[in-house]
C-alpha cells in the first residue's frame, strides 16, 4: 500500500504548493475530529428513552443505527487513508 503516486510525493513539506498544504492541514483536522465525531454519534443512544415501554427504542433499530454509524466511520477513515497515502514519505513535519 505504500507505493507512491507518480509525481505527487515531493521531497519535503516546504516544497508543497500552498493549495496542497492547505488541503493537507484541513484533512488532518478532519482526521483529528473523526474519533470525537464518532464518539458523539456512539453516545447518541444515551439520549434514547429508557424505562417507558411505549417509547423504548427497539433493539433492531438500535442495531441498525449503531452498525450504520460504525460502517460509516470505517468508510470515512478508509477514505482518509486513501487520500493521505502519499503523505507517508513526507509527513515528518506535518502537524500531528
Amino acid at each position: 500500500m505504500s507505493e507512491r503516486r507518480g509525481g505527487e510525493t515531493p521531497r519535503g513539506p516546504t516544497l508543497f504548493l500552498e493549495r496542497q498544504s492547505y488541503r493537507r492541514r484541513r484533512l488532518s483536522e478532519v482526521a483529528r475530529l473523526m474519533p470525537i465525531f464518532g464518539a458523539g454519534l456512539f453516545m447518541v443512544p444515551l439520549l434514547w428513552p429508557v424505562g417507558d415501554e411505549s417509547e423504548q427504542v427497539q433493539t433492531s433499530s438500535a442495531i441498525l443505527y449503531l452498525f450504520g454509524v460504525w460502517g460509516g466511520l470505517i468508510l470515512a477513515i478508509a477514505l482518509f487513508g486513501l487520500v493521505t497515502r502519499s503523505w507517508a514519505q513526507s509527513d515528518q513535519r506535518e502537524i500531528d
Partner: protein, 891 residues
Amino acid sequence: MASLNLLLSVCFCYVILLFLVAFVADRLAARGRSTWLRSPLIYTLSLSIYCTAWTFYGAVGYAARSGLEFVTIYLGPTLVMIGWWWGLRKLVRIGRSHRVTSIADLLSSRYGKSNTLAIGVTILAVIGVTPYISLQLQSITLSFSIFADADPGSDDRVGATVIWVAAGLAVFAILFGTRNLDANERHHGVVMAIAIEAVVKLVALLAVGVFVVWQVSGGVAATMARIDASEIGQWQVDGGRWASITFLAAAAFVCLPRMFQVMVVENDDERHLRTAAWAFPLYLLLMSLFVVPIAAIGLELMPTGANPDLFVLTIPLSQGREGLAMLSFLGGFSSATSMVIVAAMALSTMVSNQIVMPIWLSSQTQQASQSGDVRKIVLLSRRVSIGAIMLLGVAYYEMSGGGAALASIGLISFAGIAQILPALVGGLFWRGATRLGAIAGLSVGFGIWMFSLLLPGLGSGLLPQHVMEQGLFGIAALRPHALFSITGMDPIEHCVLWSLTLNTLAFFIVSVASFPNPVERLQGAQFVNVFEHSAGPRGWTGSVAQSEDLMVMTQRILGTQDARDLFQREAALQGEYGHLPEPTPEFLERLERQLAGSVGAATAHAMIGQIVGGSSVSVQDLLAVADESAQMLEYSSQLEVQSEELSRTARKLREANEKLTQISLQKDTFLSQVSHELRTPMTSIRAFSEILRDASDLDEADKRKYATIIHDEALRLTRLLNDLLDLSVLESGQVSLNMRPGNVKDVLDHSIVSALAGADGSLDVIRDEDSERIPLYSDLDRLAQVFINLITNALKYCDAEQPDLRIMARTEENTVIVDMVDNGSGIPAEAQAMVFEKFARVSAEKAGGAGLGLAICREIMQRLGGDVVYLPGEAGAGFRVTLPTKGENAG
C-alpha cells in the same frame, strides 16, 4: 454425537498446524522473505488478539444478559483506530524510534529510565492480566466440557485439560516467542499464527451467525423481529456504563500489554496503521454483527438456565450441526490461545526486562568476577517468566474454582490496565509530565482499582464483609463500591470514574509540582516531539546490556576513536587483548567518569546507573539518550573539531618550518665550518709562499721550515677534502660496501699497525687476542678505517703519561662488540654528546684533524648495520663498536 476423542484429535491437528505455520514463517523471515508476512493485512489480523475467548463466547453471553451494551467493548477500540493519525501513529513512531520492548519499557523510558515506574507497571500488568489468562483457560475447559457432556464415552479427563492447555501454550510461546533476542523484538512465527487464528475465529463466528440467521431464524427480517420480541428486544442500556465501558475499552486497547506487543513492538511499518485504521474496525464490526442475533435466538431456543456464554457452541450442537460446532470450538480455542500466547510473551518480556534482569545485574555487581552471556540469561528469564505466568494463570483458575467469578474479570482487568492511560497519554503529549507524577497517578489509580473493583470482584474472602458494608476502618466514605459516599453507581462505572479521575489529578498535580531530572527532560522532549526527532524508521535492537551496546553508546558520545581506545585499554586491564571488556563494576565506573566528561555527571550516571544500579537495561534507551546528547554536543564539538583541525594544521606548518629552518641552519653551519677548515691551511700556505717569494734574505733553514709548513698544510687540505668526500658518499648512501668474511683479530692487527706506523707518540695497545677470534662478514676495510680512527684518536688525545689503549672484543647474540678504552682523562660529560658531530673537536689543542673522523666512523658503522657510541663511566675515553656478525651463515 461428536466424540471427545475426535475433538481432541482435531484440536491437536490444529495446534500442529499452528506450530507449522509459526515455524515456516520464522524460517521465511530468517531468509529475509518476509515481505508478505509483514503486510498490513497480517498486521490488522494480529491486532485481533483483542478479541479473546471473552469476546468469542462472552459477547453472546453479555448480549443475552445486557443487550447491546456488549458492543461498547468494540466501539472503544474503533474510536482509537479511527483517531490513529494523532494517537497510535505517535505511539508506534515512539516505539520504533526508541526501540521499546513493552509498555512498561515505554513508560520507564519516557520518565527518565525510571526503574520504579517500570516495576510498578509490570506488577500492575501481571495482576491485571493473569486473571484474564485464567479466563481464557476457563473458556477452553468449558468448551471441552460441553463436548464431554455430550459424549457419553468420555471420562473425567476434562479436569486436567487446563494443565495440558497451559503447558502447550507455554511451549508455543517459549518456542516462538523467545527464540531470538538480538535482531529485534518481533516474532514473525507468532504473528503469523495469530493471524491464522484471527481468520479462524472470524470465520467460525460468522459461520455460526449465518447459520443462526438464515438457517435457524429464516432471514434477516425474521431475525430482527425475533430479536425485538426477545428479552433483549428493547434499548435497556445504562448510560453511565455505556460511556465508561466504551472509554475503558479504548484505554485498554492501547494499554494492554498484549495489544502493545502486536500494535507497537511487532509493528513493521508505521504505514500499516493506515490500513488497520479501517480494516480492524471492520473486523470488530464483523465479529459483533451476529452477536445479538445469536444471543436472541439462543435465549429463545435453549432451555432456561443454559449458559448463554456457550450459545455459540450449544446452538449448533442442539441443531445437530457437529461440524459447525467443531468450527466454533476451534474459533473459541483460537481466541483463547492467541491471547494467552501473546499476553504471556508480553508479560514475560516485561518481567524479564524490568524485574529479573535488574536484579540479576545488581547481583552481578556483588560478584564482580562472574560474567556470562547476558543474552542467554535474558532468554532463560523470559522462558521461566512465561512458565511462571502460565502457572499463575492455572493457579488462579484453580483457586477461583473456574466459576462465574471469572466472567466479570474481563472488565475488571480492563479497568486495572486503564490506569496506565494518564501516564501514557501525558507522556506522549505533555512535556511537563514527570516521573513522580506518573508514579503518583499510577499508585493512586492502582490503589483505588484494587480496593473498589479487584478485591470485591474476586469474590468472598479477599475483602472482609464489614469493609464492603461499612468502609475501610469503618469509615462510610471508604466503602469500596461507594467511595466518598456516592452510592447507586454501577461498580465498574464507579471505579473507572474515581480511579481514573484521581489518577489523572494526582499525575497532573505531582507533575506540575516536581522537577524532572535531565534524562527525564531529554526523553520527554524526544517523546513529545517524536515527529521532529525521528527522521524515519530505525533498526531495532535487542534489549540486553552487552559490551557491544556499551561500545556503541560510548562511540556516540565520545567518538569512534576515543571509544575504541578506551575499550581497548579496559580490555587490556582485564587481560583480554583484542576483545571487548566485560562490563565489570570497575570498568563501568571508569566508563561513567569518561562519559561524564562529555555529557555531564548526571546524565552519565543515569546512563550507567541503569546497568550498575539495576533496571530494565534497555540499552536502546541508553542509546537514545546518547543520540540526544550527541545532538546537543554536536554544535560545540563541531567547533572544537574545526579549531582542532586549524591548530593541527598550524602545528604541522610550524614543524615543517622549523625543520626547514634547521636544515638551512645546518647547511649554513656546515658550509661555514667547511669554509673555515679549508681557509685555515690555505692561509698558511698563501702566507708562507708569499714570504718565500718576496723575502730574498731567508736562510736555508727558514726556507726549508716554511716549505715544510706549506707541504703539511697542503696535506691537511687533501685529508680534509678526502674526509668530506667520504662523508658525503656515506651520508648519501651511495657507498658500495665490499662485504667479505674475515676475523675481528685480523682486522684489529691490520688497524693497529696502520695507526701506529709513523706516529710520533707512543701508545700501548693491550689486547686479548684469543677473545678476538670472532668470525664476521662485513666490509673489513671500512671496519679497519673505524678502528684506525679510534686508535689514532687515542694516540692524539690520550693525555696520560703512559698512554695505553685496552681493546676488548666479544660476541653477544650475533653482535660483535669491540670496546676501546684508553687511560686518559676521557671526554667531558658535556662534550660526549657532541663528539660524533661533524667538525666537533673536544680540545683546543687539536692536531690536524678536521673533526670529521668520528662522524665518518659513525656513518660507516651505521652502514655496516652496527654503531659506534661513547662509553661513559670508563676510566678514560672509551668507545664501543657494535656490528652484526651475520657472517657465519650468510657467507
